[in-house]
Symmetry: C2
Amino acid sequence: MSKQQTKPIARPAIEGGLSPDRLSLNTATVRPQWSLQQCVDGCLRHGFGGIAPWRDKVQEVGVANAARIIRESGLRVSGLCRGGWYTAQGALTLSVIDDNRRAIDEAVAIGADCLVMVVGGLAEGSKDIAGAREIVTEGLARTLDYARTVDMAVAIEPLHPMYAADRACVNTVKQALDICDQLGTGIGVAIDVYHVWWDPALLPQLKRAGKERILAFHLCDWLLPTRDLLTDRGMMGDGVIDLRGLRVAVEAEGFDGLNEVEIFSEQNWWRRDADDVMRVIADRGRSCC
Amino acid sequence: MSKQQTKPIARPAIEGGLSPDRLSLNTATVRPQWSLQQCVDGCLRHGFGGIAPWRDKVQEVGVANAARIIRESGLRVSGLCRGGWYTAQGALTLSVIDDNRRAIDEAVAIGADCLVMVVGGLAEGSKDIAGAREIVTEGLARTLDYARTVDMAVAIEPLHPMYAADRACVNTVKQALDICDQLGTGIGVAIDVYHVWWDPALLPQLKRAGKERILAFHLCDWLLPTRDLLTDRGMMGDGVIDLRGLRVAVEAEGFDGLNEVEIFSEQNWWRRDADDVMRVIADRGRSCC
C-alpha cells in the first residue's frame, strides 16, 4: 500500500532478532496500566519504533489530542484497532457503517498505516454463520468505499476460529484474502500470529497475499495451557509459536512494517509494572523473534 | 466403508429431528457417572441406537468383557475413541505404533464402525507444527496398514484449531482429507460439529469427502461464552451451531451412521444424574438436531 511505502523501512535485525525500533506497542498490551500519553512516553523511553492504539485510548483524550500526542512523538503508527463489528446489530445498519467511517477518520487523523478490522461474529441469537459472513463482506465493501477516498488501508484481521461466534467470522487468511480479491484494491490482511499459527494453509496464503495485502504483523504467543479464550495470551517466547519462522515468512513477501506486540493477559502482564513489560518485550523481540 | 454398509440403516427422523434410536452415546458424555456396563444399560433404557466407548471404559472391564457386554446389548458401536497421539514421544516410536495396533484390535473386538483418531499435537517442547504433521501422516499410514488387514476403518478427527498445540495438529476437514487422499482406501474423517462448525470451507469439503470418507458424525454445541477450552462443551441446542444444517449436509453425502453425542462438561453435564442427561439428549435430538 502506498502509505506504507512512503514511511522509512525499519533497520535490519540485530543478530537475527528484532531491535526495539522495529517493534510497535499495541496499547492493549498495557491496557489497564497506561493512558495513550503514557504509552507514547513508554515507547520513546524504551526505543520502540511505533505504537498501535485502540480506539478507547484515542477517545479518552479526544482524536485531535491523540493525533497531536502521537505526531509530536515521531512514532510510526502501525495500525488503529479497530473497526468492524458489522454484525453487532443483526443487520448492516447505518450506525455501524457510520462508526466504521469515523474509525477511518481517526486512523487518518493519527497517521495509522491501516485500520485493523475485527469484523464481528454471529448476530445475537443467530446460528447463521454464512449469513454473518455476507453481512461482513458487504460492510467491508462500504467501509472500503470511504477509505479509498482518504487513502486509508483497510486490514482484515482473521481471528482464531475460537472467536468465530462472538468476535469475528473471518477465521483464516484464505478467507480474508478471498474477500480482498472480491473487493479490490486498498484492502488487505493483518496477520496476528496468535490467530493464524495453527493453519496448515498459512504459508501458501502468505505467499498469495504478498506485500500488497500484508498490512500488519502482530506478535504474542500461544500458551500451554491456555486458561482463558480471550485474555491468556503469552509473551513472545513463552509459548509454542515459531515466531521467527512466521516473521521471516512475512518479510519474504516484502512486508516492511513494524512488528506490533499485542498481548491480552489478565493474570500476568496486565498486572505488572508497565515499564517491566516493555523491557521484557524488548528483550524477547531480540531473542525470540 | 464396507463395515458401515453391512449394518442396518437408522430409521428416518421423526418430524425432522432425531429419534433416540438414531443416537449413539459417546461414553465421555457421562464419564464421571457411569461405567461401560452402566452406559450400555442406559442406552438400552433410553432407546439409544448405539454407543461409542472410550478406551478407558473398555480397559476398565477388559476388552473381552467389554466386547461381550456390548455384543449382548445389540447396540451398534459408532466408534471407538481413540487412537492417535503419534507425537506423544517426540518421534514415531514402536510403542506408539503398537498402542495404535492394540486400539485397532479393540475396535475390532467391540465391533466398532471405526477407530477415531486424535492424532496428537506438538511434541513436548517443540514449535515445529509442520514436523508434527509429518509424524502424524507417517503414523496414520502405519496404523492403516494394519487396520486394512482386519477390515477396520480409521477415522481422522480434525480437532478445533485451539487444540493444535496439545491434542491434534490436524485441524480442518480439508487437511484430514488431503491425508486420506495421500494414504488411500480404508481411512476417512470423523466430523465433530464442535471442531468444524466455524470452517468456511466445511460444506465443500464434506462434499469432497462423500459417503466413502465420512465415517462418523459427532454432536454437541458451542457455548457462548465458552469458559474452558476443553471441558465446556454444550448440550445440543444450548449453543450457536446450526446442528440440523450440518446433519443434513452429512446425510446429503450419504452418511447413514448414528449421530454420536460427545459432551465434555466439567461444570454442568458431568455433575448431573446420568439418566437426566440421557433424557435431555433424547429430547434435544428430537428438537434441535
